[in-house]
């Protein structure tokens, strides 16, 4: 998140987000994960695979 000057702002340019696509092995949910610890947003399982 970022902000600059004056009023607080938030910006997230998607072309600079280092996201990877994952699929949860437990519930099948597909999601974009960021960070070193991808975790399914639906069932909270860490048993996920990069796709």
């Amino acid at each position: 998140m970022c902000s600059v000057g004056g009023p607080t702002d938030i910006d997230l340019p998607e072309d600079r987000v280092a996201a990877k696509d994952y699929r949860c092995k437990e519930c099948g949910e597909r999601f974009k994960g960021i960070g070193k610890r991808p975790m399914c947003p639906s069932c909270q399982s860490e048993d996920v695979a990069e796709i």
Binding site: C2, P7, D11, P13, G35, K36, C40, E46
Partner: protein
Amino acid sequence: MNVPFSRDVLRLSGTHSFLLAASVPEPFSLCIETNDAEYCQGMGPGDLVAVSAPGAGPVEPALMLLELVRTYHLPLIVLPRNHPGSKRIPYVVSAGPVIQTSCSIVRGTHPEQHLICSSDELAGIRLKGTLEGITIDNLPAGISHGIIKKENV
């Protein structure tokens, strides 16, 4: 400087701004919602959630915001650039194993960089979560720190 605590909240205060930070007690997937995409950041014990109030304001809403993310795992909503509502947001949130404050962030940063907007007086601080608390580096002179006990949150 190491500040040991578990569920408590670290408060860094300057003369006209403050920052709160706390450790995540359990794993969860923090969702970050943009205009047309959702990003999910895996959080785990020792990772940090920070709330910055670059323009001061009351502490209580910042505490509530911190707990909404840390304890209740509410997603973060990201406004697009130049959104008219952005000027009404007095608090910003960042999450991850390391969080660094900056008063001169160029628009275009993102959570992977672990940067959070701060006032100039709180800029340059590096917070690193540990299983026992938080390590603070580059704390500027004149910035006080204290602990808000969990029972008072």
